[in-house]
């Protein structure tokens, strides 16, 4: 131990009360589930609670409740009144933000620094932003008398549980839709706490229904004939299955799917900022980020310098207890995800790439993976093509700007990309060439409710955030057979 090592600085978990068992939130009340499954703290495998496994009947009741709420209350309520409910929700979430942050870190494994400073404040901001849209829908861009779509079925992932809930529920409600939300199997707790917020805000019953469960619960929601719109964030594989499932129906869909973002470093990039950006790009949230900068594409002339500085920086990353305020890298969300990361990194070694991780002691219990970088990666390697969804970076090099773009775009995905250069014209040129929905220039992994987020190609359909995200929950009065 050196003189300057950090002492643990644990965030207290006494602020949260976790019940031993949860039901679904249907029609404004918690209702008992028939079957349950455990949700655990991935940093130590402690069972936190028992979560209800939603079946077709639960989905049916939730959809029916949302339909009644849509027809009788929510779609008829003046926008300014709907907006006030959303403002209330935003305010209560702000009041209870520490509680949300601790609960999120417990259930998900992410560092408290991130849940406290990023996830929860952004989730609040999404409600606050969309609250203001509720009485201004005629200016959203779909014509003078926009209408809500009806009941939205929303399925969210485990990487940003509350934030993804906010991305889904806030625009849907602002536009006058009601929702049935299914949280991810491993991270239901903050959604259930959000249900309490809805109660405190006196949100009319049925406007938000939450049914917990696994993939089968999600399928039942997608297939339910009472749903008008599907909003899904998750894997490209499941996204395609949803696209096929709704093909014969009139259901609309927004899909936020996988990514394999390129983070391009030109030889004139500011080295230290750029190394911070690379670290933030791939190690933020354990790399459990669909838009993570998982492919570093660095100009050959500076590759050695960048990679050696990156390795020094990586050796400073603190891996450990998510509730420790000094922690940079928390736990992998589940055993299943850990085995996926392990298998893909093994393929990197088997295919000939060079693997490196700093010395770092990982806790014995729970699911952990050290920050890892692969050099000598070629485009054909699985670690350069497949989404790892973990703290694993693949480094490729380029000589000409054209080659950088070709490598960056050589993937079926197109969610995000990064560009590092001090030259403005080069930044704009690269940004134009990249086939991706979000470009971070001299920065990475920034999010805001006013900023549309979403991908090209197999990264999905539509955008979330800004007026573009809002209009995905609206139709124009004159809309005919548009939007198959």
């Amino acid at each position: 131990m050196t003189d300057f090592d950090y002492a643990p600085a644990l965030e207290s978990r006494s602020i949260v009360t976790i019940e031993s068992e949860y039901g679904h939130f249907i029609n404004g009340e918690f209702v008992k589930g028939a079957n349950h499954f455990p949700t655990i703290n991935p940093s130590n495998e402690e069972v936190l609670s028992q979560i209800a496994l939603g079946g077709a009947q639960d989905i049916d009741r939730a959809v029916a409740s949302s339909r009644v709420a849509f027809e009788s209350t929510w779609s008829k309520m003046p926008g300014k009144e709907r907006g006030k409910y959303l403002y209330r929700i935003a305010r209560i979430m702000q009041e209870r933000s520490r509680e949300f942050a601790v609960l999120e870190s417990l259930d998900n494994g992410k560092p408290i620094r991130e849940s406290r400073d990023i996830d929860i404040p952004l989730a609040c901001a999404h409600f606050f932003y969309h609250a203001g849209w509720a009485d201004k829908l005629e200016f959203a861009g779909v014509g003078s008398s926009p209408r809500p779509l009806g009941v939205a079925g929303q399925i969210i992932p485990w990487n940003f549980p509350l934030l993804m809930l906010a991305w889904k529920i806030a625009p849907a409600l602002a536009a006058g839709n009601t929702v049935v939300l299914k949280p991810a199997e491993t991270t239901s707790l903050t959604a259930l706490l959000f249900a309490q917020v809805c109660q405190q805000a006196e949100l009319p019953a049925g406007v938000v229904n939450i049914v917990t469960g696994d993939g089968r619960t999600g399928s039942a929601l997608v297939d339910h004939p009472g749903i008008d719109k599907i909003a899904f964030t998750g894997s490209t594989q499941v996204g395609k299955a949803i696209a096929r499932a709704i093909a014969p129906t009139k259901k609309k869909a927004t899909l936020e799917l996988g990514g394999k973002a390129a983070n391009i470093v030109f030889d004139d990039a500011p080295v230290d900022e750029c190394v911070e950006g690379i670290v933030n790009g791939i190690f933020f949230n354990q790399g459990h980020v669909c838009c993570a900068g998982s492919r570093l594409i660095v100009q050959e002339s500076v590759a050695e310098e960048i990679v050696s500085k990156l390795k020094v920086r990586m050796s400073k990353i603190r891996v450990g207890d998510p509730l420790d305020k000094n922690t940079d890298l928390g736990a992998i969300n589940s055993a299943e995800q850990l085995s996926k990361i392990t298998a893909l990194t093994k393929s990197g070694e088997d295919e000939g790439a060079m693997r490196w991780s700093p010395e770092c002691a990982l806790p014995k219990k729970g699911f952990w993976f050290a920050p890892t970088v692969f050099t000598g990666v070629t485009q054909a390697h699985r670690i350069a093509q497949e989404e790892i969804f973990g703290p694993v970076l693949s480094v490729l090099t380029f000589r000409t700007p054209q080659e950088a773009i070709e490598k960056a775009n050589n993937t079926p995905y197109g969610l995000s990309a990064g560009v590092w250069s001090e030259k403005g014209s080069r930044i704009h040129w690269a940004s134009q060439q990249l086939k991706a929905g979000v470009i971070w220039a001299n920065t990475f992994n920034k999010f805001d409710p006013t900023s549309p987020f979403g991908g090209y190609k197999e990264s999905g359909w539509g955008r979330e955030g800004g007026s573009h995200g809002l209009t995905a929950y609206l139709k124009s009065a004159e809309e005919g057979g548009n939007n198959e």
């Binding site: 093909a247 079926p412 470009i439 805001d448 090209y456 359909w461 800004g466 573009h468 548009n482 198959e484």
Partner: protein, 281 residues
């Protein structure tokens, strides 16, 4: 009238700015509204479609780089070329649809006007759906619409010329390239329109036209992995679910449209790109 024997036109495909026959060597018979023989246009094959996609991909890259002003002028030029040949198109439409020349001329004029309408959109799309976004932090953040890439279109059977213009103009005005399957029943105005395109400074490969069987080719359009979007306005309702299932393999953006001009037809085949950059000294 003299006894002169008329020189009739061979209707072929339009791919990469050239007029090839189908590689399959196949044709099918197109008749006028009374059942009389008109022409043997090509019955395009899956291979013709694949060839066209390769060419369209290359063409899209330079077409998307053209300035919006330039693209607008070229679409306007297409309208000019069509106006000059209005009579020819009117007689083709009249023969196929059994309507009077006067009625047919109305459709031609509507088509010219539609092209002019879409031409004017080229440099206004960013103002319509672009934005600078006031994010909470020291960043300049802006969103702009960009062309999607290569888009397929199955033209409607309803209006052989106007329906065809609706299938191509909104797709190419933003910088996409298109492969369009013309009306199966009445493909002749579309193939004559290729001659208009060929004299309009539209870069070769931006608009590629196939004629043939919808039920045969629509599934290949849908499953092609290098087609980014698909307009299925001309696909019969009972075939649409299958087309959408096939299109899910690369998450193709699949849309159909009601009659009439709309910016939605353009924007449906564009992507919103958002760029962040720090602000600081």
């Amino acid at each position: 009238m003299s006894d002169r024997i008329e020189v009739k036109k061979t209707y072929k495909l339009f791919i990469g700015g050239a007029f090839p026959r189908s590689e399959s060597g196949r044709t099918y018979e197109v008749n006028d509204h009374k059942g009389g023989f008109l022409a043997n246009p090509a019955l395009a094959s899956r291979k013709d479609l694949r060839d066209a996609v390769v060419i369209a991909r290359t063409a899209h890259i330079s077409w998307a780089k053209a300035t919006a002003y330039n693209r607008g002028q070229i679409l306007y030029r297409i309208a000019e070329m069509l106006e000059g040949r209005a009579d020819q198109f009117a007689s083709e439409i009249s023969a196929l649809d059994g309507i009077s020349i006067k009625e047919a001329l109305k459709e031609v004029h509507l088509s010219v006007d539609r092209l002019v309408w879409y031409a004017g959109w080229s440099d206004k799309l960013s103002a319509l759906v672009g934005a600078t976004n006031p994010v909470s932090g020291p960043y300049f953040n802006f969103s702009i619409p960009e062309p999607m890439g290569v888009v397929g279109a199955i033209a409607t059977e309803k209006n052989s010329l106007l329906g065809f213009i609706d299938a191509i103009a909104p797709i190419i005005v933003s910088g996409n390239s298109v492969i369009v399957l013309a009306s199966e029943r009445a493909p002749l105005p579309a193939m004559s329109f290729a001659e208009v395109l060929a004299t309009s400074d539209l870069p070769p490969g931006v608009c590629n036209i196939l004629t043939g069987s919808k039920s045969e080719l629509a599934p290949w359009f849908a499953s092609h992995m290098d087609i980014d979007g698909l307009d299925i306005t001309g696909v019969e309702h009972d075939l649409r679910a299958d087309v959408k299932v096939a299109g899910a393999e690369n998450l193709k953006r699949i849309h159909s449209f009601a009659d009439g001009q709309s910016p939605a037809r353009i924007l449906s085949f564009m992507e919103i790109k958002t760029t962040w950059h720090p602000i600081g000294v």
